[in-house]
């Protein structure tokens, strides 16, 4: 290998059941890891209070979403609670081209779809400290109705089961601690020999023998 290859960017995928605090942790991790770029997903669900179009999500109609599926624009998409969620290929590509590291906030179903194309992505599952605390957190969400809480809890327990195929698990006892574990995972992954081999071979002039 004569040409120096740039290190590939890292794909950090974060999933969690409803009420595990995934969105808050993602925001915290972006604060402490400014190198990470956030991949903005598309969704057909209406924006919640405070959510900004193009920053939190690309809010699009179901027609547009289906149209983009048909055109093959998504690297992954999945349905959740009757709404569609998906990651655009071009959203990933714009960061990949600059070998930037990307943070993706994706539900387990979408994450599983993504893993087919990105087996070397880093898949992190956020867990609530216990089922009791998960229940409390779901109740605490003012925006949800009682029936919705029941549905979400059932779904959350199903989703928790998906942790099986993830690389890492973080218990979200508190946001700061959980975000610092995420930071550690990021640093460790950047130190994986497999990711550094071209840099090492270049520094010490050792051809990689396959």
């Amino acid at each position: 290998m004569n040409k120096i290859q740039l290190e590939k960017g890292l794909l950090l995928i974060v999933s969690a059941p409803s009420g595990a605090g995934k969105t808050t942790i993602c925001k915290e991790i972006l604060k402490i890891l400014p190198h990470l770029r956030f991949s903005v997903s598309c969704t057909t669900r209406p924006p919640r209070e405070g959510e900004q179009n193009g920053k939190d999500y690309h809010f699009i109609s179901e027609d547009e979403f289906r149209n983009r599926i048909a055109k093959g624009e998504f690297i992954e998409w999945a349905e959740n609670y009757g709404y569609l969620y998906g990651t655009l290929k071009k959203e990933i590509k714009k960061f990949e081209d600059k070998t930037l590291d990307i943070l993706l906030d994706i539900d387990p179903l979408g994450a599983k779809n993504l893993k087919k194309n990105y087996p070397d992505g880093v898949f992190v599952f956020i867990l609530p400290p216990s089922i009791a605390i998960l229940k409390e957190r779901l109740k605490g969400r003012g925006s949800e109705k009682k029936d919705m809480i029941k549905i979400r809890l059932k779904k959350a327990i199903e989703e928790i089961n998906e942790n099986k195929w993830y690389d890492y698990v973080i218990f979200n006892d508190n946001i700061t601690a959980a975000a610092s574990v995420m930071k550690a995972i990021y640093i460790a992954e950047k130190s994986k020999r497999e990711r550094l081999k071209n840099k090492i071979n270049n520094l010490f002039n050792m051809p990689e023998v396959k």
Copy 2:
């Protein structure tokens, strides 16, 4: 699985070529990760200034070392610069019985032997930032003669090549930064889903399906 299984302790193995600053980093990491227990190796080489028997190494005679090899007391051993180095099985066992995490400072040859018995150990290779700096550091060691430096440099370059089969690589630009990467690796490894599955299954009552 009805019984709760304790998490297994983690084995963190650190190797480096001569002059990469491995011993200093190990001391630093033990300061910032007081949960880690240091595995004291046996060696036939004479103690350097300031080294304490039973703390830095168990300094033993070659006769005793060979005798212990014959008795099968070592989990790994290897020769380096004409001296023997090895890890006693009982040194590891005393920590394993308490499910404690262990830090081992072992040369690549010994580490390779250890990997056969501990494939799930975490193998970290410390690299100097460049060959030029490695050369300088070897020269800087007052205790070494010129011929010895040449031999060590040649050996170091051979040893660097061994990074291939390690899990992680840390560039030792400065001790504090290198130790903090090691800490991140430790935290990340403790968050690996594979290591936490019994805890998760116990918390959420999900039987592990093999």
